[in-house]
């Protein structure tokens, strides 16, 4: 059998060039899209509200035009009865996020659907009907975080959150972080979730 050189479309150099162009092209496109995404998801932008949103009533409703659920921002509803400036709110939410990371929450819970699956998603934790009523929600959340074993809400699963030595200021900061996170426009995830206070509407 004599060695024949392969046709151009099957040659090594053709595919080498293709690989380089495809990789380069995709990467450039990704960088351009990333600039745009960053602009849209910065806090205070169209999709991720400013941190001071924790001073407002946050809910989640079905949008008929978009055919999906969307966060809604309502009247004043300050967290723990204190209206915070933008800077104060950011500081509080920041402390909450740092605590969530330092306590390794993501290896049991999911946040925005990412993480582990041993405990419920926290994306809309602030809005969950499990808190019973809007009036008692803040205090119940803080109590739970400070002593999860005594205030365990296992829904019959026997899965209990361990005591993570959360301090009272950390607990309040986590609640602020969760409230702010519930206001992010997640493109309708989770679907069909009825927020606390929206049951009869």
């Amino acid at each position: 059998m004599t060695e024949q050189s392969p046709p151009r479309w099957a040659s090594e150099t053709f595919w080498k060039k293709t690989a380089i162009w495809v990789t380069g092209g995709s990467f450039v496109l990704l960088v351009i899209l990333s600039f745009d995404s960053m602009k849209q998801i910065s806090a205070g932008g169209p999709r991720v509200p400013a941190y001071s949103v924790i001073n407002k009533d946050v809910s989640y409703r079905f949008d008929k035009a978009k055919q999906r659920y969307q966060p809604t921002i309502g009247d004043d509803a300050p967290l723990f009865g204190k209206t915070l400036s933008e800077a104060e709110a950011e500081k509080l939410v920041d402390h909450g996020k740092k605590t969530v990371q330092a306590k390794n929450c993501m290896n049991c819970h999911t946040l925005l659907g990412n993480g582990a699956y041993y405990a419920p998603d926290l994306t809309k934790a602030w809005l969950d009907q499990g808190w019973g009523a809007k009036e008692s929600r803040e205090q119940m959340m803080v109590n739970f975080l400070l002593d999860p074993e005594k205030n365990a809400r296992t829904y019959g699963s026997n899965r209990k959150m361990p005591n993570l030595d959360i301090t009272p200021p950390e607990a309040e900061a986590i609640v602020a972080f969760l409230k702010w996170m519930s206001s992010i426009d997640t493109n309708g995830f989770p679907h069909n979730f009825i927020a606390l206070g929206e049951e009869d509407k």
């Binding site: 690989a19 910065s42 950011e90 605590t99 990371q101 925005l112 699963s157 005591n163 309708g188 979730f193």
Partner: protein, 501 residues
């Protein structure tokens, strides 16, 4: 026993270790780079065992939630389980590259001493990180915790100090690879590998800063997780696979390299923008639905191409090869990568279905088969190549002494992982229906799904197959320590020209 007796025993033990290590370092069958590769493979196997152990503990907690409550909670076990996996895979990749670097470039490794130093630094750091995970576990909500204990971000939990160390080690590795090829000869594999390592090291930086905004946090976090696992790692194993096909089956370089370029084009062409399938629900704009859905639907294509390619190669060479266990694991890799990463990933990648399956046991199902099929398998193939060469390039074909062991290990590991995958898939279907579709993802809905007998049954099946996997892992370790010992026959000679024509 008295204290003195203990002391003598410990000293004897240490002396024995030292002697065995010196004997290994004097092994004439291995080049400098290959000895370093065996170092990496050894730690990789230790971490693989740790992954299995902590996986079993975490799996048990699904069935018995009070097991080790407040001693080793689920979050600790799960973190060690997934971190051990990431790190053992990286150790395997680094080792595999060191394994073939001298052979591929034709010269001894440039800066091997730095490479050896980096190995000990990395291994020391990994040990400290794991001890801190297990003994300290969590900190207060401050930067100090993120720097010293745990960053609390899935898969890249390593504290910040360790991140910096990892980058330094990766740069040393990159220097070893690039400088060696530069001094010796550049092949197609060498070029792809070197560029891929630039991307691999660069992307890690995207996960090394703190931001308050969780949407921004998750956006860059995926640059590390997705672009590593579904782009640079896939190309890295493509390079490793290309080299091993030449060595194992005698495939011609021209064919292998052409395929490697095709794979790179398809893998990066689909994988880079396929990143968008993680940007559906984290606050990012809607155009990611279209881009992420479209490109991630293309992602299985290179994996199909790889299966076609390997089966063709194996068939064209009538399965004549120099190392049966290694070839078996290469085949497991081709199928595992296609099924686990390709099919299982595609099943829930489109936003139309992902809205219900995101963040459920579907992800766990896909993760188990994909990581094992795509990466564990090819690393194990290289462990066998190393074992063969370390024992003097001995026979590893048919009628191998205790050949049942590698076969049993391979069967148990593959069946075990497949069984876990299917069990978790069933749990994932159930969870998607009850928690997501019916109950709308409330906490009550979550627990309604978790408490359902169908879910619990699936978790028990997962445990059974997890145990099977662990037994397979133990058997694999035993086999790697023993295989080829006392074998006198030389390895089969694979002549590239003789088999292709």
């Amino acid at each position: 026993m008295t204290l003195q007796a203990y002391q003598e025993k410990a000293e004897g033990c240490a002396a024995n270790c030292k002697q065995r290590y010196a004997a290994f370092m004097a092994n004439p069958n291995l080049s400098g780079g290959q000895k370093l590769a065996v170092h990496y493979f050894t730690v990789a196997m230790v971490l693989f065992m740790a992954q299995l152990l902590f996986g079993l503990l975490a799996g048990l907690q699904f069935i018995f939630p009070s097991f080790l409550y407040e001693i080793l909670d689920f979050n600790v076990n799960r973190m060690v389980h997934i971190n051990a996996m990431v790190v053992w895979m990286l150790y395997g990749f680094l080792g595999s590259v060191y394994w073939f670097l001298e052979d591929e470039s034709g010269v001894p490794i440039v800066g091997l001493k730095w490479g050896q130093l980096a190995f000990w630094v990395l291994t020391g750091a990994v040990t400290i990180v794991v001890l801190v995970y297990l003994l300290i576990q969590i900190g207060s909500g401050t930067d100090t915790s993120l720097w010293l204990i745990n960053e609390g971000r899935e898969y890249i939990e390593a504290p910040r100090w360790a991140d910096i160390g990892i980058v330094v080690v990766m740069l040393t590795f990159f220097y070893n690879v690039a400088a060696t090829f530069a001094k010796g000869k550049w092949s197609g594999i060498a070029g792809v590998l070197t560029l891929d390592l630039v991307a691999l090291a660069g992307l890690y930086l995207a996960g090394m800063f703190y931001v308050t905004n969780i949407s921004v946090d998750q956006y860059w976090w995926w640059w590390v997780i997705h672009l590593w696992v579904e782009a640079t790692w896939e190309v890295l194993v493509g390079c490793i696979m290309a080299w091993s096909l030449m060595k194992l089956l005698g495939v011609r370089r021209k064919v292998v390299q052409t395929w490697l370029y095709i794979e790179v084009a398809l893998m990066f062409g689909s994988g880079i923008l396929g990143l968008g399938h993680h940007y559906f629900w984290i606050g990012t704009p809607e155009y990611w639905f279209t881009i992420g859905g479209f490109f991630s639907a293309l992602e299985p294509i290179p994996l199909v191409a790889m299966v076609v390619h390997s089966i063709y190669d194996a068939g064209a060479h009538k399965f004549k090869n120099s190392n049966h266990p290694a070839l078996a694991w290469i085949i497991a890799h081709a199928f595992g990568n296609f099924l686990g990463a390709g099919v299982w990933g595609f099943m829930h990648t489109l936003p139309q279905i992902n809205l219900y399956t995101h963040g459920t046991q579907w992800s766990a199902s896909h993760g188990h088969l994909a990581f094992f099929g795509a990466y564990a398998t090819i690393n194990i193939a290289f462990f066998y190549l190393a074992a063969q060469q370390a024992r003097g390039n001995v026979w590893m074909g048919g009628e191998l002494a205790n050949g049942w062991r590698w076969k049993a290990a391979a069967i148990l590991l593959n069946l075990g992982v497949m069984g876990m995958t299917v069990a978790l898939l069933i749990a994932g279907y159930e969870q998607s229906f009850i928690e997501r579709a019916v109950e709308g993802s409330t906490w009550a809905g979550y627990f309604a799904a978790q408490n359902h007998p169908w879910f619990m049954q699936a978790m028990i099946w997962r445990m059974v197959f997890g145990l099977m996997t662990a037994v397979g892992g133990g058997l694999l370790l035993w086999d790697l320590l023993e295989i080829g010992k006392g074998e006198q026959r030389p390895a089969a000679v694979i002549d590239s020209e003789a088999v292709t024509h």
